[in-house]
Symmetry: C2
Subunit: 384 residues, 2 copies
């Protein structure tokens, strides 16, 4: 297996881009990443792009071909992958595998979602297609409802409180305010979260990630040639992907995501590191409870202690492990197909020392990208 | 690069499955392939699944996780890829690359589409999402219209006739009648095609592939262990993938698919064979004109001579090269995400000598899978 490095990153502002289309976003992120990698376009051998529901939300499928076309990279192979909200992470993994396996030397991995072209109620249905359509969506269960069930159970089993969940949102908005690409630029307080409108009890508006447009891209290269393009290649020292049942009713637990635990075990083993070695990590906080469950399942905190640790500031920049310095899905925004790539952009910037006001002193970082309510988990570990 | 072989195949009946869901079809094809490969499920390391528009047509995305879940294969990695009507071929290619690159030894590649759960007009929109949404679909251009433009131009440049196009449909229905999995089991005559209702002039109903439900799967293995499972492994000696502009208005030609030409060149080079070595080939005949263009672009016949060659019987079983022995998209049916895998199933059966009444004497076979109007082309060459 070849060693693989990130040699370039590009990202659009995350937010509501009323004046821009899916392809505009792809173009901006893609070109930024290619320029950041000091590449001539002709050196790119393949593209892997992640998007969840472009067909439903923008009436455009065939996204692989679209990306190659609008980046002017025809006739190279361009592959769209989809794994719900883990589509971006999975695009990164497939691109990584292709370089690690010696198929290509230089590839672009990107993610995109344009979510504001349809009504909010339709977005709820589109996202619901990541659940088990027959068992969950068709019965009227939305994603806030699924995560509300997990939150209630976590509160029951471990005494997790609404205040602790709110602390996740407060931290992630604080980090987002330091990130120019983030959708939200304002800090919020615990009371703002607790007093916000209930979406699916106990989750309130500020416990939920927003609807967002955005795109992100990274350029990967065989480590042997990476130094030709950059003085600061960031190596991907682990890539893992695990699956679980689509429907939460078929899971062993509502308070732990098995796919996360398995993917994390495999990633730590491949990278030969332990949770304590990770100093900066982007986790999949589609809802505040999801971040609490993630930091437990990833081994940063004991099961049931994630909420307390968050309230105690252990996941802040400067804490035991800096979680979601980008602002996470909650503060930076969640264009579903782009999120997994945005996580890689953020960790690359952190390990290069390019993260400005939100900079963490770290040598090793991690990304944790979840599809649906946990049926897919994709994890990558990065090293400078 | 490791050598890779097909060691098992599975397919559902193609047709209108009013009583069966997307997951029922996946399950049947997947289990048949695994059984055909004499595998214990635990030996499977990863899944690659192709589907084009499951989100739009069945309200189910997150298809990778769905496949692993319903085949009982959690927690292994399971990846959905999408490239419009080439989704199946692309799933095969990504699975091939993963084994060739040494990532896995045994993987399943599958394809599925459930198209009859929505109205026909909606299917037309869903398929239209494979075109350039802004330039084509939004202006009301449907796929029959796009291929009608190509047909008219081919008639103008080369004198191709409606009768020659009809001969494609007649041959493919004849082959389909010999294939128990095919949607259509009745032979038709040239006059039936010529007298059928016009869809987009000069294309008539019998020039168009139908709306179909179906699934297909193949098991791939590293050649070194393939013999452990089967006495008749079919090696994949080439895999290639090329892209072109989404919109046909941006192409150099309307009578030749550049992505096909480039993918074919690369495939012949990798396999070290020439067109004359291919004795059986499944080509992407979404419309009759598409088969004529394909057999020219693949180098079987001179440009402009595909129609005459077809009318003269050169593409029949027993002719110069047997094209679409399965019945093709036209006769066997076209569940869009499944088609590329069905092509691989057919060629594997042919090279194994399992093709019954439609058996061809061939050592080398080929599959040609196109996305949209030619923005994606995926080609594989197989050898017994």
């Amino acid at each position: 297996m070849n060693r693989v490095a990130v040699i370039g990153v590009g990202i659009t502002k995350f937010g509501e881009h009323w004046d821009r289309s899916l392809r505009d976003l792809i173009l901006e992120a893609g070109i930024k990443a290619i320029e950041d990698a000091n590449l001539d376009g002709k050196e790119i051998e393949a593209i892997y792009g992640g998007t969840m529901a472009s067909g439903y939300m923008t009436k455009q499928e065939h996204i692989g071909a679209l990306i190659a076309d609008y980046l002017g990279l025809n006739p190279i192979p361009s592959v769209r992958v989809e794994a719900a909200c883990a589509s971006g992470g999975l695009a990164l993994r497939e691109a990584y595998l292709a370089v690690a396996g010696g198929i290509y030397d230089i590839v672009v991995a990107g993610g995109v979602e344009k979510m504001t072209d349809i009504q909010t109620e339709e977005v709820t249905v589109a996202l619901g297609e990541a659940s088990d359509q027959e068992i969950e969506l068709m019965q009227g269960v939305t994603f806030p409802a699924l995560y509300a069930l997990m939150a209630r159970r976590h509160m029951y089993e471990y005494g997790t409180t609404e205040e602790q969940m709110a602390a996740v949102a407060v931290k992630n908005h604080r980090n987002a305010a330091k990130n120019e690409y983030a959708q939200f630029q304002k800090e919020i307080k615990i009371e703002d979260v607790l007093n916000s409108k209930v979406v699916a009890d106990p989750l309130k508006v500020f416990d939920c990630s927003p609807i967002t447009d955005g795109a992100a891209a990274v350029v990967l290269a065989n480590m042997e040639i990476a130094k030709k393009y950059t003085d600061t290649p960031v190596e991907i020292i682990a890539s893992s992907h695990a699956t679980d049942t689509l429907a939460i009713q078929n899971r062993e637990s509502l308070t732990s995501i098995k796919a996360t635990r398995i993917a994390a075990q495999n990633a730590y083993k491949q990278a030969k590191v332990e949770p304590k070695d990770i100093k900066v990590c982007e986790v999949h906080d589609c809802f505040t409870i999801a971040e609490i469950i993630a930091i437990e399942d990833l081994g940063f905190f004991e099961k049931g202690k994630g909420g307390i640790a968050t309230l105690d500031g252990e996941t802040e920049i400067g804490g035991k492990v800096a979680i979601n310095t980008s602002g996470g899905l909650k503060g930076c925004g969640h264009p579903v197909g782009a999120t997994g790539i945005k996580q890689a952009v953020e960790i690359t910037m952190q390990l290069r020392g390019d993260a400005g006001k939100r900079q963490v002193n770290a040598e090793i970082g991690m990304t944790h990208n979840v599809g649906g309510s946990g049926a897919t988990c994709v994890i990558h570990i990065f090293k400078r």
